[in-house]
Symmetry: C2
Subunit: 181 residues, 2 copies
Amino acid sequence: MDHLYEKTTKTTDIFKGKVIDLKVEEVELPNGKTSKREIVKHPGAVAILPITKEGKLVLVRQYRKALDKVIVEIPAGKLEKGEEPLASAKRELEEETGYKADYLDFIVSFYTSPGFADEIIHLYITDKLKKGQVAPDEDEFLDIIEVSLEEAEEMVKNQTIHDAKTVFAVQYMKLRELGKK
Amino acid sequence: MDHLYEKTTKTTDIFKGKVIDLKVEEVELPNGKTSKREIVKHPGAVAILPITKEGKLVLVRQYRKALDKVIVEIPAGKLEKGEEPLASAKRELEEETGYKADYLDFIVSFYTSPGFADEIIHLYITDKLKKGQVAPDEDEFLDIIEVSLEEAEEMVKNQTIHDAKTVFAVQYMKLRELGKK
């Protein structure tokens, strides 16, 4: 057992929602004292870095109630129950952008907020886009835009792109000189 | 008003905690239908990319109850009430690593989970580290390690580094060829 481990002594379920659950765990700290941890459970998510034949990055504009503003993000969505990340990524890509791809390459997975949530995002990339069919969720409204790497970098600077996965994706393109003709 | 905007028609407070609050908002969608949004409120956070004179990245090993495992992260912490991000970053750097810095350079801010939370992380970098005094929070236990960029990249691959801000930080170093002698 790692010396940093915290043992849970009591779990209280606070909320079970459509997207997230919340619980509070009482823990025994490494020094024997106790504390409480507030924990959000999330089903996990996928995100896709789609690059067109013209070298443009496909992005979605979406209103985010938690932020009370519209931000621009790479296409992403929650895992459905029992769904594999790769299948989920293919589904979300087509539903949100109208592009589909037979193959996606895995980039990396990361936890978004390990201090209070277990959300993990599995990130994929493709530059083999074919025409598919847009089909957003019934409570999901978004605009699709296609931008050059330079435009995406400018959107990071002016905080139009303002979330971790998308800032990471733009930097990933820059590092690998993707999106250039 | 942006055509993607969702109007809140009712807010229900579910939980007020030590770190996060949870509320559910009933919203009117752009097409006039209604839906519910589960929203976690968070005070915001800072993170620091500290590079030693020897070109090593300073990281902390920490048990994360939400994940039930120890992961390795760049130093980070929540904003205290009324605290400016830069002051918070200086404080967290010293408390968690025992290094301090008179100046930090701002890199970027990003939301970690815009789908359900308003947490924002303000990220800073410094390679001007001086000896300070470790002073973690009373319920915070961590190990400090110093690794080369190559070691950090290996830790991303084997998922020892497994969170968004730290994966971003390692890629940031790589892109700018930081951490090299």
